[in-house]
Amino acid sequence: MREVGWAMVEGILAGMKPSVKEERIDFGKIHTRWNVVEEEKKLGLKPEDLVKDLMPTAEPFKSIAEAVFKGDATKVESLVNEAIKKIPAKELVDKALAPGMQAVTKLYEDGIYYLPQVMLAADAMQAGINVLEKATGGKLEKKGKVVMHVAEGDIHDLGKNLAKVFLIADGWEVVDLGRDVPVDEVVKAVEEHKPVMVTGTALMTTTMTAFPKIAQKLVEKGLNIPFVCGGGAVNEDFVQQFPLGIIGKKAHQAPKYAEAAAKKISWEEIRRRWHEIAPV
């Protein structure tokens, strides 16, 4: 038996002060990063293959659509500038810009692509649209109008702005009233623009109370369009307490709701079947 001195004992004691040794822990027993598990399942998939059916094959549509798909705004701009000389604007939208965008959106909704890819594609598509509008000296035909706003007293507009991008990318005209918008201004805009639907965003419980008021006034005026409400404080229980109210959980649902509204599906039915019409 070896003899040891007190100094050594003290050294041992110091090392023994209650402490947690990270190195000894098997973190795999505590948590799993399920996104890594999920990604491994999809590693074999090639995004381009999955959207082949959506993408045009003939030029110049093919190249433009691919540039949108890649989010390359500069390239879209130059290709469209070239193409517009020979091809009608509407055809370029329908056969090149829109398909490229749709492919990205599909991959996003299928859980393969990510939001930045969608946003960059939308920016690229918008660059193309800008060229076309400038070239044709007017607005391109849109699927319909959507009025958007952030509730009075509320200044958080990220959710609204994301949804706006998805709507524009899908071919809708957005009337953006901005943030901190009074009730009557929203009602007036709906009367004036006759949109297929209206949206509202609120972060606070005390600003979302504007929504039932808006809904009430719209109903009184016979404007029975879906009123999609979203944002931090807004939940399904709340929107079901007033007419027209439909829950908006994620930005990418917006075009689906607009499609349904344009097909004259009633707000009651959209509310009832929202999981199906606009899954999150």
């Binding site: 402490s19 702005n161 606070m204």
Partner: protein
């Protein structure tokens, strides 16, 4: 600007940082000590929709839930509580709303303190209701004026402390985060955000200290918290969590400005950057994490921030009834019991063990938790203080350090990353490393890039008048 820039760490070792203890404790009215060896629970209740319509019902509502909270503290044997009101728009916009609600709560705090000895402090967090798009913008607009008036109203009503979540750079950040544009994130939070705080904060400190109210802190709600919210859970696909982690490191460099302007803490919670700032400054901090704030926000950082927090907060809860009581009561009970566990550990001399367990339960769950673990937060703090005099550089190097921390853990096989997370990280590091070291140059570059493209962005709002 009269800011006291931090160029060295107040804490000499990360191991010295622990919940409930700060180098510079704060004492607030009615018997509350923060960072003085105790964790104080905090409760925030969002007034129930409709109560704001009239001043009378609004004040009554505040009284009611404040009384419920204080009674519950007696019921459960709690010794201290912080009650925070995050202003709704009406409360900041109308100074009588601010004053009357604050006054009603302060009266109740005093009553329970006097009658029982219960420690109670009231915090009012004034809403940053400024709008870049209004005439006068962030600095000269009508909303800015109302905002400062609300600070004065609450301080004159006798609240223990005031806080805010300033929104400078929000328009840039919103635009950039959705696009994974890390340069924009750095510019929005690290440059515009810091610049705005440097303008706002000296004014706050001046207004409230004359009433004996503590100027507490500022958190990057509109930046780091927005990024975290959008980043969501592991299965979400909006923001790579590696990028979200870097955004938080940048927010650490930004929110530090409040302390540099005279904020004393406990620093405000929701941006989650406080572990970094506590490491730098030794000032006490409020924290939140999912185990105590799931009512407001569910995230991959479940317990981690409790490791270094001096005040434990539930972030926010709508006032309504649950089986167990009102939400004011339910979440007071949740934060109060989390604080009790921490306080037992402090009394038992086991605070470092508990700190480490809280930390390790999330450190390798996600890159966002990884960089906030107190040892890594300290590293980021060091990167910040190394460039402490330059808000841009310190934000940039904070982000780079965060990136390094993640890469090291990934290479050591301590954390798993998806390809997307890893690619986003590498790409971001490449971008950051290529940026100039001259702040003015970076600013010029960014103004050129974003002005006209990002809705609402106007250099004038940040005092860059030349543009």
């Amino acid at each position: 600007m009269g800011l006291r820039r931090y160029t060295r760490m107040e804490y000499k070792s990360p191991d010295d940082i622990v919940f409930g203890k700060a180098l510079y404790p704060v004492y607030e009215r009615f018997g509350v000590q923060i960072g003085a060896g105790f964790v104080v629970p905090e409760i925030k209740v969002a007034p129930h929709a409709g109560t704001e319509k009239e001043l009378k019902t609004f004040v009554e509502h505040h009284k009611q839930f404040t009384k419920e909270i204080l009674d519950l503290c007696l019921q459960l044997g709690f010794k201290h509580i912080m009650i925070e009101q995050e202003h709704v728009f009406q409360q900041t916009w109308n100074k009588d709303y601010a004053y009357e609600t604050a006054h009603a709560q302060v009266e109740l705090a005093e009553k329970y303190y006097t009658e029982y000895g219960l420690g109670v402090t009231i915090r009012h967090t004034i809403g940053d209701i400024r709008k870049v798009e209004e005439p006068g913008g962030l600095r000269e607009g009508e909303h800015a004026r109302h905002m400062f008036e609300a600070f004065e109203a609450c301080a004159s009503a006798g609240v223990g402390d005031v806080a805010i979540e300033t929104t400078g750079g929000k328009e840039i950040l919103d635009w950039a985060v959705a696009r994974g544009d890390v340069k924009g994130i750095l510019f929005g939070i690290g440059v515009c955000g810091s610049e705005d705080m440097a303008w706002v904060w000296p004014q706050i400190v001046k207004i409230v200290t004359k009433y004996g109210t503590v100027p507490a802190g500022d958190t990057n709600c509109s930046g780091a918290n927005t990024v975290m919210f959008l980043a969501g859970g592991l299965m979400d696909r909006e923001v790579a969590h590696t990028v979200a982690a870097m955004a938080r490191a940048i927010a650490g460099a930004r929110s530090l400005v409040a302390v540099e302007a005279g904020a004393l803490g406990p620093l405000k919670d929701c941006g989650y950057e406080n572990p970094i700032i506590k490491a730098i400054t030794g000032v006490p901090v409020c924290i939140e994490c999912t185990s105590i704030c799931a009512c407001a926000h569910i995230d991959v950082m479940g317990n981690l921030n409790r490791a270094v927090g001096d005040v434990y907060s539930n972030e926010s809860v709508d006032y309504h009834q649950e089986f167990g009581g009102s939400t004011a009561e339910v979440w007071t009970a949740v934060t109060g019991n989390a604080a009790a566990l921490a306080n037992v550990a402090l009394q038992a001399g086991q605070e470092k063990t508990l700190r480490d367990l809280l930390t390790l339960s999330d450190k390798y769950r996600d890159p966002q938790g990884l960089i906030l673990a107190y040892d890594n937060a300290y590293r980021i703090g060091k990167a910040i203080t190394e460039y402490g005099k330059d808000p841009y550089l310190r934000a940039k190097y904070a982000a780079i350090e965060a990136g390094k921390i993640i890469l090291e853990a990934y290479e050591a096989k301590k954390i798993a990353l998806t390809r997307w997370e890893l690619d986003s990280l590498n790409k971001a590091l490449e971008i950051f490393n290529a940026l100039p070291d001259d702040g003015e140059k970076f600013k010029e570059e960014c103004i050129k890039e974003y002005y006209g493209k990002v809705p609402g962005f106007d250099p004038k709002n940040y005092g860059w008048a030349g543009k």
